[in-house]
Amino acid sequence: MRRDSAGEPPGGPTDPGRREFLKLVGATAGAAAAAAVLPSGAIASPERVEELAREHANDPGMLIDLSKCIGCGACVTACKFQNDLTWRQDQPWLGPDAQLASANWTVVRTFEPETEPSGSIRYAKRQCMHCLEPACASACPVRALRKEPNGPVTYDVTRCIGCRYCLVACPFSVPTFEWDRPISKVSKCNLCFQRVSHGEATACAASCPVRAITFGKRGELLEKARATLAADPERYMPRIYGEKEVGGTSVLYISDATFPEVGFREGLPTEPIPDYTWQVSRLALPVAATVGAVLTTIWVRRSRALERGAAAPSASPDGEKPGGTHA
């Protein structure tokens, strides 16, 4: 290693600290890189999705057929009544500008797909997808959001600290925040947790006049979706949205327009998002322990050396410090 000399304080070209430092940096970087990269290749296994599908086959879910929806908004009304939500002019729940918001747990948004004959319209009913491995719940520092044992992803306002990490974390941008209150809460569909826990269908599914929303067990809904696609391949896109997205979701969609055209996000991984983050957050304690141990060792070694130095009458520990540099 070349040593640049001019004007540098004493330390010596063979300063062991610096070498130790670079070694430490190298070793830490290498270890962390290996720890982070190697398993990230390993999680991309198709079995994981199948396993999740089996595990959650009996969870309550919904199959939404976008080709059937007529955009009447009955589901939105049912939802608002069921969950005591208000109608707010600044939060449209139907039409081209409809958006999930603090008072909208579900909306029906209008699209004009370009691949369809002009003037043709599609309606996309959106709400929480109730992921099998929800990113929002894994991101919540206080477990205010959690996946109930029977499937729905619910929210407990009393715990929430309002950090909005769930808004950042959700791959479908579902949770919303009550921005206009001094004390705000998160808002999102809970798959009518009370109703489904008693074996009833969700309010939206029960209210749909054209049966665009089927309520049922996820496993059976998947079967039904596959059968529907197979029965009319001319009409439907060959794809079930939610089957594999981020490991699978309890709400599934089939459509006759392409999914991006009706506002669905593409390019999501098939691995559950928590699989990625857990690889990193599980390293926290081991890393802390290792760094702590290394530092303690260094400290003990250094203070032993200092004590040995101090034994000689003239060399006080301070004498070893380059006191001259700050003169």
Partner: protein, 399 residues
């Protein structure tokens, strides 16, 4: 004999606290006042009245500046502590105290910013009770809280010299080493957790920035931005006090960080190659251009300047390079929080409301004022005190 032992044996005569009013300080006080007003407004009327945050842009200026960038800039504390106390960099001890102080104020600012940003701030203590240990935010909370406490203790070490209380002094010495160690471990976790925070945005954050190595990148950049911050702080305060900046010490420190920046650059590129995203750099989109600017102006240029003795051994060169590093890291955090997310956000881009700016400005002004007060009243800066900070080893031997 070390300074501390002297302080123990013979309490210094009480020195009156001073705070010299200058027009600069009056301006800072004004900014801080405006900030306090905006904070009150935010608590009374909520976030939509005081910010431009929306469901599409749930995190804004406060998370970017007060939390992500602020924490990185406060990295000087732990990187200096690590280099000085554990990696044989005793020759840099003269700047250790200033670094600690900046870092402590930085973290107080981070905690303040985080608290303000919470929609249910009165619940802020809940992570103590409910352990969402899967969550990076949980980790972050614990690290910020723990490290703020650690830094107050580290500063307590300086405090007891000025305000002698023998009991406290002994306690401080006894816990000094564990605190020093925890004071390196926690920031390492915290800085990397800030990066891990965005791993959750897989599929949405631009692949130029999304990587499983985000925690490592955040950690490394917070480490190399540390000495740059220390250099800037020393140069500015030396100028303000009409002294000479300790350029040799600083120049020596940044040489080490220059090398680390080289490692960072190589790792960044290797990671892009590994994920097959290298080509994205040259796509000519806003994101790719921002990425290139970040890497060239924030890493390559200042890294090279740090490695050239002719540049880093001059006040001007050292200052310019350090400034670029700091700007580069702040820009990097902005790119992760905003630029990289923009592609998957279905809404107009976010720009902070004036009150958000006022709050951030107020926090910074408050931190600078506190810094000025403390450096005026405590032996912090290298040329001021009669001796560098005490060598803890000797303090322990003596106490």
């Amino acid at each position: 004999m070390s300074v501390t032992t002297t302080a123990l044996a013979r309490p210094a005569a009480p020195r009156p606290w001073t705070f010299h009013m200058t027009s600069f300080r009056v301006v800072l006080l004004g900014i801080a006042g405006l900030g306090i007003g905006s904070v009150l407004y935010r608590f009374l009327f909520g976030l939509s009245a005081s910010t431009n945050l929306t469901d599409q842009w749930p995190w804004g200026l406060w998370i970017w500046w007060d939390v992500a960038a602020g924490a990185a800039l406060a990295g000087g504390g732990y990187s200096t502590a690590l280099m000085v106390n554990f990696l044989g960099g005793d020759k840099w001890r003269t700047v250790e105290r200033g670094a600690f102080l900046t870092s402590m104020l930085g973290y107080v600012m981070v905690s303040g910013g985080l608290l303000l940003d919470l929609g249910r701030w009165f619940n802020f203590w809940r992570p103590i009770r409910f352990w969402g240990y899967h969550s990076v935010m949980f980790l972050l909370f614990w690290c910020v809280a723990g490290y703020t406490v650690v830094q107050l203790v580290e500063f307590g070490h300086i405090w007891v010299e000025r305000v002698p209380t023998p009991r406290m002094t002994r306690l401080m010495h006894r816990i000094y080493v564990p605190v020093l160690i925890v004071g390196v471990v926690l920031p390492i976790l915290h800085q990397s957790a800030l990066g891990s925070l965005f791993i959750v945005a897989k599929g949405r954050l631009d692949p130029l920035w999304w990587s499983m190595l985000l925690p490592l990148f955040f950690l490394m950049s917070s480490f190399f931005v540390g000495p740059a911050m220390v250099a800037i702080e020393n140069i500015v305060s030396a100028r303000a006090h009409g002294r000479r900046a300790p350029v040799p010490v600083l120049g020596d420190m940044v040489r080490v960080t220059g090398k680390l920046m080289g490692v960072y650059l190589v790792l960044k590129i290797a990671d892009l190659v590994w994920r097959g995203e290298l080509g994205r750099m040259f796509e000519g989109t806003t994101a790719s251009n921002f990425f290139l600017i970040e890497m060239l102006i924030g890493i390559v240029v200042p890294g090279a300047m740090f490695l050239l003795p002719r540049i880093r051994q001059t006040v001007g060169g050292l200052f310019a390079a350090s400034f670029l590093v700091v700007a580069g890291v702040v820009f990097n955090r902005a790119n992760v929080v905003f630029t990289g997310m923009a592609r998957s956000v279905n809404a107009p881009s976010y720009f902070p409301y004036w009150m958000e700016l006022a709050v951030t400005g107020g926090l910074i002004a408050g931190a600078v004022l506190t810094y000025l007060f403390i450096t005026e009243n405590f032996p912090i800066l290298p040329e001021r005190g009669a001796a560098p900070s005490p060598a803890p080893g000797s303090a322990r031997a003596a106490g």
